[in-house]
Symmetry: C2
Subunit: 493 residues, 2 copies
Amino acid sequence: MNGHVHLEESDMYESDGKLFLSEAFNVIMEEILHKGTDRKEKVCEWTEPDQLRALMDLDLRENGESHEQLIQRVRDVARYSVKTCHPRFFNQLFAGMDYHALTGRLLTETLNTSQYTYEVAPVFVLMEEEVLRKLRSLVGWSEGDGIFCPGGSVSNMYAMNVARYWAFPQVKTQGLWATPRMAIFTSQRSHYSMKKAAAFLGIGTDNVFMVKVDESGSMIPEDLEAKIVQAKSQDAVPFFVNATAGTTVQGAFDPLNCIADISERNGMWMHIDAAWGGSVLFSKKHKHLVAGIERANSVTWNPHKMLLAGLQCSVVLFRDTTNLLMRCHSANATYLFQQDKFYDTSLDMGDKSIQCGRKVDCLKLWLMWKAIGTCGFSERVNKALALARYLVEEMEKRDNFKLVSKGHFVNVCFWFIPPSLRGKENNPDYQERLSKVAPAIKERMVKRGTMMVGYQPMDGHVNFFRMVVVSPRLTTKDMDFFLDEIEKLGKDL
Amino acid sequence: MNGHVHLEESDMYESDGKLFLSEAFNVIMEEILHKGTDRKEKVCEWTEPDQLRALMDLDLRENGESHEQLIQRVRDVARYSVKTCHPRFFNQLFAGMDYHALTGRLLTETLNTSQYTYEVAPVFVLMEEEVLRKLRSLVGWSEGDGIFCPGGSVSNMYAMNVARYWAFPQVKTQGLWATPRMAIFTSQRSHYSMKKAAAFLGIGTDNVFMVKVDESGSMIPEDLEAKIVQAKSQDAVPFFVNATAGTTVQGAFDPLNCIADISERNGMWMHIDAAWGGSVLFSKKHKHLVAGIERANSVTWNPHKMLLAGLQCSVVLFRDTTNLLMRCHSANATYLFQQDKFYDTSLDMGDKSIQCGRKVDCLKLWLMWKAIGTCGFSERVNKALALARYLVEEMEKRDNFKLVSKGHFVNVCFWFIPPSLRGKENNPDYQERLSKVAPAIKERMVKRGTMMVGYQPMDGHVNFFRMVVVSPRLTTKDMDFFLDEIEKLGKDL
């Protein structure tokens, strides 16, 4: 009846599959978790793109490969990938490895479900609710709303869209042609996702007013007021201000209470992009950095950064209690959100999302939280800030390091001044030559594989390194190593 | 110096962590992969929300828990979650389990990196490029562009935004106030993400024109032309038509060549939402269902559905060769996309994305492809369609099943007519009573845990079941079981 199509099952499928998975798990343990966290091993095995293409044999073919070949594939992927769990990986705002979070992630992947209904994700619907409730309580809200999003940029977009709907509800049906021109305010040092969000939501990047910052990278409230006046003079309606708690490069915190005052006076929605800095809420000692956060209308916070939950784990939290998130995003698809189910369908919260299928991102954070408790997070945050402080103090003892600015968080921005440039600050080519130091050291570092740290230029400052201290495995010895290694790599420049 | 903050490392951390992970992996193997794929075990362990909240003890506390307690947590999460890998899970457009894909997912989670630069994701940047190239070649494009997105809805949004930028490039900077009103066209049976996208992008749901469909659920091209005339009469500019290849409920395919003709005549961007049906491209026998797909400007395709890659694995592909995707989304953040790196920075493709950190979604698909080859996917697609055909034929032999419409894909939509309703089609309360059958059977099914299948009403059709055949583990015996079980569950209704 069905021609040559074989409709029955091969018994080998399940047992072969499980065997492969188990063997691959051992390779992952050995290559990534043992070697990748070992200080004596490399952070990365640098390979030129063309060489890597050839080594990996990426081509996809008509026929499959043998068990042994495939295990070798797993080994190769591990070998040539960067070990972000390595204690000397400082390149991004995530680093380190939490084994409980990783367990939560493996469990999530194996259960392979979507977060839209209680029916297919009973545990995770309730768990997401609980994790969001707990995160909101740290912000200072006993009620409210929220959702896990695929990354901080999307969380920021959610906030902007909900704010727009709050200000101009007709936008959902009639679009922006039925509203006045809108104005968004954010600091010059805020994350680029604000501009991406404005472009994607159809508001346009020209309608994002960039507010000036002080030397440390914090928004200057007086300039926010000036920019609001400017926007109004152009017939744009100020509706959304984004304050940053932990800027990407400097780790600066905007003055939240001042910005909240200005928002209130102008009837604006106040969002806080605390993707990076939100985790200080766990620390009694450091949460003063986000004083006033509870006055925001919405907050973005990425537990995949400082809390080590693993990519992706980002939330946007709302103070709103009027179901704004659902009203803004709902499309009421009857095939998914039937109203005649045999359980309380208010648990089917998928319509709050702009996605349909949505990955489960709460379990990794929940399991880690169960493992180390709120006080475990607090200790980690305190340790990271203390180590960053230690690093700065040690750096100040050495005359070949120069801080870009004194930070308050775990970002340490600095120039390495190589021997040939020391005392030459007044030479006409000093800045030009200094700008080439970080890229040169970075290249050597990556090719040696001893560590990874990022650099960038910023508003008239030539290329400087941004060191970030995240992983709880780090010690003062790692900080000393870091300084020694930079000196070693740059000693002949 | 740093008060009471402990700055050194506990040696226990790594070894305890690895021990926990290994033990948890065994629990995952046992509870999900052994039991969860066993036909004799339940698909789900139904628990009322309040009871589940109590059983799971979701509360997050000040202090952490013991190793044993945490292992029990892993066991509980597995136990009370739905086993989407179970052979009798038919509830969504994803199902089953591929062990190579799962291995790729575990590897991805352990490596924990972001897809933005070659520097931190060397293997995955090249791999994504290769997988996208291969998927495009199946569509029929030797060149082009594309990106992995967090789900099909977001892929559709990407297409709509890129199309808008192509039609009105000023939108990126000036917003929609600088453009005429725009019109979008999509069928009544297309996915609800079209409306969500229109709302999110600021275009508004009223500007989405819903084109009529025939009995099978395919778009009627004549009505598309009528709707274009209607939009123009309202001074809205037609710029985007979405054709669906595999609708969510019926699995219908819109007539792509006719729609392409109309798009070309009207200068519109043609997108194809092939999230569900795109996988027929692997089958010589069935790819006629998407004849004309190569004429589209963009295509959404979710390998996490029929190909079993695992959530999330969705791509949007573009025919464009002018770097439209990058130009539309780029923000040129200097801290991430430095131009003075020591390698070819055209590999740093993160600025194509609206996200910043972006999960690696290519590895699971790549590894599975290496394992079974292109012909392995072809066999799976052919088997799924043949089994769906078998199910329909068996259903037609039984007089208590009635098809909603004859489908062309793996969706089988039907009513179960219980004994009490047989021959009562002309009774005034027939439809009302029939509408209650599927919810009643669904409740019994879930509480017994024998299988899971979805139901929904649709445009004047009262609640009916939508069976979908996806998993390669399925056999004709499973199809027979399915029919027997529905009869058993509904025999007294």
